[in-house]
């Protein structure tokens, strides 16, 4: 059973619309996104191809593109969407509470 563990990651105003922010917690790195329709999402922070920080990449609509080799993911689902990546990203639940972005980094 999955045990939830909600962590306060940042303020909603710290991520621009259609942009991404790196968040490190407990030795892991995550990427937090704010979509053009103003929803928040979270995925693992490193590209599945060569362990590069996705938060340095470009967000366009619901796609994050890796800054090294231009691999693409749909950050709303984690799905790999363009070469050279073929392994999808893990996603994490997000909750907004009082202007704060909370991420559930809980484990299975």
């Amino acid at each position: 059973m999955r045990v939830a563990k909600w962590i306060d990651a940042c303020g909603t105003d710290e991520i621009e619309v259609e942009d991404v922010l790196r968040f490190d917690h407990d030795g892991r790195t995550y990427a937090l996104y704010r979509s053009p329709d103003d929803r928040f999402y979270a995925t693992d922070g490193l590209c599945t191809h060569e362990q590069v920080h996705l938060a340095d990449g470009l967000v366009m609509d619901n796609i994050i593109e890796c800054p090294k080799h231009n691999g693409r993911f749909d950050y709303t689902t984690g799905q790999a969407r363009g070469a050279p990546v073929c392994i999808s990203l893990k996603t994490y639940p997000i909750r907004i509470d009082n202007g704060r972005v909370l991420i559930d980094v809980g484990t299975e």
Binding site: D56, L58, P67, N70
Partner: protein, 410 residues
């Protein structure tokens, strides 16, 4: 569908054919014994990380099987019979029928003229096997001579330094990276090599070699001698066009294709380093690119063309080169005649350069710095070039104007 050449372009084409829903047979023919693998790490991580015993694959055996791609490693195509739509293979002597054929034969390292290095062993880097051979020479304190100050030569120089070898680079041209890198960036790169203790001689050639004990003594045209444990040459690449030529497929600095990547034979296409193609963004000038991203994108585009699409390939050329902890990024063309260059100073202290045509159109962009500080902005520049945008030099130079907002401006 038969694909000759299992590098990035060929492997991507095979995968794309299946992804696009092609239900029939796909045969991918590769000269090397390995599954299709990524070449960019060969001059970098493969040289510095001695534990890598296999290259990172583009697609492994399981992936090939899952996509029902017939992969023939260690196999050469010796003849294309265009009349009967057959290719003849070596060493098996088998013949294969094709409906449509894609040539992704790549390029080979240009060799030095033999008279210039009689007796000396010269290494070239193109394959994983080449990289493993070079890696074996890169001990701490080993003296390495690199002939050629282009991307490959300088990446090998950086990797060799990182494992503690003693490195000298000689470049015949007046400066390193003369072909496609703006002068001021070449200067920054030269500086970072100097800081790492690499000796770079520009405008200097090697006049001869002689044995010197266990080492080889190289005589340079400036009178300097270098005693070295290994010599690596990175003096450019030549497109592999022999098979095309012998079967009457027209070549012109590479296999000549149209904007859809089709050769003069309507059932034969070409993609990647081996082909020259007209580029719509640059007045349909015929160009040939030796770059991983181009190979990948052209492989995918060729797959669509093989299946009957008739769209022009017009991706913006884009290159990167990692040296130490910094990356050179170039997109578009930075050396067109009559262009203006404007600089954008990023908060991190790194500069981006934009290269604008006289009518204001953005033609190219370039930067050298930590990849994480420049990659996103450079990618936006690439999108602006792709859209033939004329965002205005003032706005490009103004750090208060977000580059991404220029994309929305259209």
């Amino acid at each position: 569908m038969v694909i000759v050449g299992a590098g990035e372009a060929g492997a991507r084409a095979a995968l794309s054919l299946r992804q696009s829903g092609w239900p029939g047979a796909i045969t991918l023919i590769g000269q090397e014994d390995l599954p299709p693998y990524e070449r960019p790490p060969l001059s970098k991580k493969v040289l510095t990380c001695t534990t890598d015993t296999a290259p990172r694959t583009t697609v492994n055996a399981d992936g090939l099987a899952a996509d029902k791609i017939t992969y023939l490693p260690g196999t050469r195509v010796c003849e294309i019979d265009r009349v009967h739509h057959r290719v003849a293979l070596l060493p098996t002597q088998r013949e294969f029928h094709y409906d449509r054929l894609l040539l992704t034969t790549g390029a080979s390292a240009r060799k030095l003229a033999t008279e210039s290095h009689s007796g000396a062993e010269i290494h070239y880097l193109r394959t994983f096997a080449d990289a493993v051979k070079i890696r074996a020479k890169l001990d701490r304190g080993a003296r390495i001579l690199i002939i050629g100050g282009g991307f490959i030569g300088l990446e090998i120089a950086a990797s060799a330094r990182m494992v503690g070898a003693d490195v000298t680079v000689v470049e015949m041209a007046p400066r390193i990276l003369g072909r496609s890198v703006p002068q001021n960036l070449a200067k920054l790169i030269r500086q970072s090599h100097a800081e790492q203790g690499v000796a770079i001689f520009e405008g200097i050639g090697v006049t001869g070699f002689e044995p010197a004990g266990q080492q080889t003594r190289a005589h340079l045209s400036n009178g300097v001698t270098v005693d070295c444990d290994a010599i690596v040459a990175g003096v450019g690449a030549v497109p592999n066009t022999g098979l095309a030529e012998s079967s009457g497929v027209i070549t012109e600095n590479g296999i000549r294709v149209d904007a859809c990547l089709r050769t003069n034979d309507p059932d034969i296409f070409a993609a990647g380093d081996c082909c020259s193609f007209p580029h719509a963004l640059y007045d349909n000038r015929r160009i040939r690119l030796e770059a991983w991203r181009n190979a990948q994108a052209q492989g995918q585009h060729a797959a669509a063309s093989l299946l009957g699409a008739a769209t022009a390939y017009c991706a913006v050329p884009s290159f990167w080169s990692d040296q130490y902890d910094r990356t050179l990024l170039i997109c578009g063309f930075t050396d067109e005649p009559n262009t203006d260059t404007v600089e954008r100073n990023l908060a991190s202290g790194v500069n981006l350069q934009f290269h604008l045509a006289s009518d204001g159109r953005l033609l190219g962009a370039s930067a050298f710095g930590p990849n994480e500080l420049i990659a996103r902005e450079m990618r936006i520049a690439e999108l602006l070039i792709e859209r033939s945008a004329s965002p205005g030099g003032d706005r490009l130079a103004d750090p208060a104007v977000k580059l991404k907002s220029l994309l929305r401006a259209g």
